[in-house]
């Protein structure tokens, strides 16, 4: 092999090696998801959680196998969770659209659509509104579940509230045996909150 041919083979090998090393480095570095993760503000039931855009307070959950909303009754083979949430908007009108339940198995249950919902509407700046998160879950997802609230589905690099709902296995079994309809109220303003 002439020196020129050897030079070319060596160059090609170095280019390939650089690509492999680059891929290895990229795999070893923190993922883009980790870098752009949301800021989780953790709280308990009944405790105000201060977010960039609002203060939210999550109330005690209730459950049943039948839920009634807007005059329509729906049944489930799992359980319905209904959770009251109080929202005080900061600085400007806010419409929180993201509510999901996370269970201890890593599954997520989004409140969006007909059978699971979260529709608080727009909360005016400085005002406080109460709305309900309604989520359909399998029975084994209820105990240990957390409620995550955010301004929008894409909450990278933004505040989200994470609240342990305090649901026990006994609660879940009791709700799974309940056929009494759980009536979900409509959102309502409950007064002026603290200005921020």
């Amino acid at each position: 092999m002439t020196s020129r041919a050897a030079h070319r083979v060596g160059s090609a090998a170095l280019v390939l090696a650089a690509l492999v090393v680059g891929q290895a480095v990229r795999s070893a570095l923190p993922s883009e998801d980790a870098v752009s993760a949301p800021f989780e503000r953790v709280g308990d039931v009944g405790e105000p959680v201060s977010l960039r855009y609002a203060t939210v307070t999550v109330g005690a959950a209730d459950g049943s196998t039948v839920v009634e909303q807007l005059g329509t009754a729906m049944s489930t083979t799992g359980v319905w969770l209904s959770v009251p949430v109080t929202i005080t908007a900061h600085g400007e009108p806010r419409t929180l659209t993201h509510a999901e339940v996370r269970d201890d198995q890593g599954r997520t249950f989004l409140a969006r659509g007909t059978r699971s919902s979260f529709l608080p509407g727009t909360v005016q700046a400085g005002m406080t509104r109460r709305a309900w998160v309604t989520v359909e879950l399998p029975v084994d997802a209820a105990a240990g579940a957390e409620l995550v609230l955010g301004l929008r589905d894409d909450h990278r690099l933004d505040d989200v509230a994470v609240v342990d709902l305090g649901v026990t296995d006994a609660d879940a079994r009791r709700w799974a045996a309940t056929t009494e309809p759980l009536t979900v109220p409509q959102p309502e303003d409950v007064g002026a909150g603290e200005a921020r």
Partner: protein, 268 residues
């Protein structure tokens, strides 16, 4: 000594800064300069000639390489390049697996059409169904009764379910065929127990549900249909920074009889 100035240093009519062109008739400095210039020019010409010769040699060498390569069958070059390319993919995770075989779809047999595990019960047609609204009066519904469960670990909002059970070759379907498969997906999905729209579909919950396909009322109702189960893959989008269910592929196919529903609450 500068050209244009007399040897005795006396000034001439020409500016002391004028550079006269040396001529062969000059007996002193210009002649020496002329010879030097000629030698320099000769050297340059020689160098240029050598450079041209060098470039010709390089061109010949390159064309020889080209001729050598092109003398070989193109398929050899293509095969070689392909081997190099495939070998290099090993450093980056390799290539994705090809599709799977198509199973027979039969009533009562559970099958996996990701993101669902589904069991088909029967197929009916009905003119009216509470909670379902056709796009035109007079259209009917072809209803596929099923039991299914989501195998995904996050909520499914509905569009992912549309292709899961599809019809093939049924005339008069209102839904548009999927560009990838040519099959017509379901128009709507309802929960059988309460008639609510089945959205969202949460992980781990089993549903008795009906997949509805709208058919033109001017077309005769079918006596049998070819029902196709389509599975999808959950992966990162090639174009956007998000994960989605995509790459539809047929996983099962079967021909099922169709009969008219006795009434709008026909079920199990």
């Amino acid at each position: 000594m500068l050209p244009g100035r007399a040897d005795d240093g006396a000034s001439t009519s020409r500016s002391p800064y004028t550079l006269a062109v040396p001529t062969p008739s000059d007996e002193t400095g210009p002649a020496v300069v002329d010879a030097a210039v000629r030698r320099r020019a000769d050297a340059l010409r020689g160098g240029r000639a050598e450079a041209r010769a060098g470039r010709r040699r390089i061109a010949v060498a390159r064309s020889a390489v080209a001729r050598r390569l092109l003398d070989r069958p193109l398929r050899d070059l293509g095969a070689g390049a392909t081997v190099v390319l495939l070998a290099s993919t090993a450093a980056f995770g390799g290539l994705r697996d090809a599709g799977t075989t198509v199973d027979a779809l039969a009533p009562g047999t559970a099958l996996v059409a990701a993101p669902l595990e589904v069991t088909v019960d029967k197929v009916l047609w009905v003119d009216e169904l509470p909670g379902a609204y056709p796009s035109e009066d007079g259209n009917r519904w072809i209803a596929v009764l099923t039991t299914f469960r989501s195998t995904h670990d996050a909520t499914l909002l509905g569009p992912e379910l549309r292709p899961t059970l599809s019809l093939e070759g049924v005339p008069g379907l209102v839904g548009r065929p999927d560009p990838a498969t040519g099959l017509v997906g379901s128009t709507e999905r309802l929960v059988l127990t309460d008639g609510s729209r089945l959205t969202p579909v949460q992980p781990g919950l089993e549903h008795d549900a009906v997949f509805l396909f709208e058919q033109d009322g001017d077309v005769a109702p079918p006596t049998e249909v070819t029902l196709v189960a389509v599975g999808q893959t959950f992966r990162s989008s090639s174009l956007q920074d998000l994960d989605e269910w995509t790459d539809p592929a047929v996983v099962a196919r079967g021909t099922l009889p169709v009969r008219e529903a006795v009434d709008s609450t026909e079920g199990r």
